[in-house]
Symmetry: C2
Subunit: 146 residues, 2 copies
DNA sequence: GCGAGCATGCGCATCGGGGTCCCGGCAGAG
DNA sequence: CTCTGCCGGGACCCCGATGCGCATGCTCGC
C-alpha cells in the first residue's frame, strides 16, 4: 500500500469505470501494471465492491430523518438485540453508536411517497429495548447524503 | 421507467459490475436488451456514475462526528455564505438543513491520525456566520456510514 | 369498427476494446 | 550470484456496444 495504491483508490472511488489504460497514465504505470494493482487491492479487501450512484429521482426522492434512540438500559444483551434487529431494517441507511445523551443515532431514508408515521411505527415495532425516540427532520440536503 | 428498470437500478446499486448477461437473467431479458436498458438509464441521468466502495482501513479509519451548527441569524445572505463556504470544506461529507433547534447538521469524517481539535478550529475558521457549534461523537459505526 | 402505418422494444449477430494472463527483463536485497 | 518482486509488452478471449430484422401494440384515418 504505497502512494500509487492510494492514488488508484482515490481515482476508483470517484469513478470505478476508469480503464486500466486511463489509470496507468494518471499514476505513471503501464495498463497491465495498473490493472494488477487494482486486482491486488480487490483481493486484499481494500476495495469492497463497485456500486452505481443513482439520482435522487431514481431513488424515489427520499428525505433524510435522523432518529435519536435511547434504550431502556445499557446491558450488553439489550444492545445486542437492538443492533441485531436493526441490521434487518432496510429503511435505516446508517447507524451510529454515540457518546453523550442518546445511545444510538439512526439515519433513515424516507421515500417521498411514504408517510413518516408509518416508518415511525415500523421502526418502533421492529426494534426491541427502545425507551425514547426523537426524530429530527431535514428540510434540504446540501451535499453528499447518499 | 418501469418495473424492470427499477430492478436493474437496484441490482446495479448493489453491484455495478454485474454483466449484461447476469442482469438479463435476473430481470428476464436477453443480455443485449438489459444492456440497452442500462445505457438508457445512464443517459436519462438516473445513473449518475459508478464508484468503488473502499474498506474503512483504506479510507484511513475515519470516525464520524456530527456537528450541529446554529447561525448568528437566518437571513438569506448569511445562510448562502455559510453554504458556499461549506462546499469547499472537504472534511464535511454531508450537510443537512434541519428543522427544529439547530440550523445545520454536518457529518464530518475525521481520519484517525487527525486530532479533532484541529478539525474543529479548521471548520470554525472556514465557515462564516456560526454562532454555536455542538459536536457529537460516534463510538462505533454499525451499518452504512460511507 | 377496422385496417394500415408507425413507434417501441425485443432477440440475434457482429465488431472492437479492454480485461486477463503469461512471459521476459530489471532492480534491489541477501 | 541468485532470488524475489514488480514492471512492460503481447496474445487471447470475453464483454460491452451497435446494427438489423421482427413482433406487438397504439394511433389515426377511412
Amino acid at each position: 500500500m504505497d502512494r500509487i495504491d492510494r492514488k488508484i483508490l482515490d481515482l476508483l472511488a470517484g469513478d470505478s469505470r476508469l480503464t486500466g489504460e486511463q489509470l496507468g497514465e494518471r499514476v505513471g504505470l503501464s495498463p497491465s501494471a495498473a490493472h494488477r494493482r487494482v486486482k491486488a487491492l480487490e483481493e486484499s479487501g481494500a476495495i469492497l465492491g463497485y456500486r452505481a450512484r443513482l439520482s435522487n429521482a431514481a431513488r424515489g426522492n427520499p428525505s433524510t430523518v435522523f432518529v435519536h434512540v435511547t434504550l431502556t438500559d445499557q446491558r450488553q444483551a439489550t444492545m445486542l438485540a437492538f443492533e441485531k434487529a436493526l441490521a434487518q431494517t432496510p429503511l435505516v441507511a446508517e447507524t451510529y453508536l454515540m457518546s453523550g445523551e442518546s445511545d444510538y443515532l439512526l439515519k433513515v431514508l424516507v421515500r417521498s411517497d411514504d408517510s413518516y408515521e408509518r416508518i415511525h411505527r415500523e421502526i418502533l415495532s421492529a426494534l426491541p429495548g427502545v425507551q425514547r425516540l426523537v426524530s429530527q427532520f431535514t428540510i434540504r440536503t446540501l451535499n453528499g447524503g447518499e
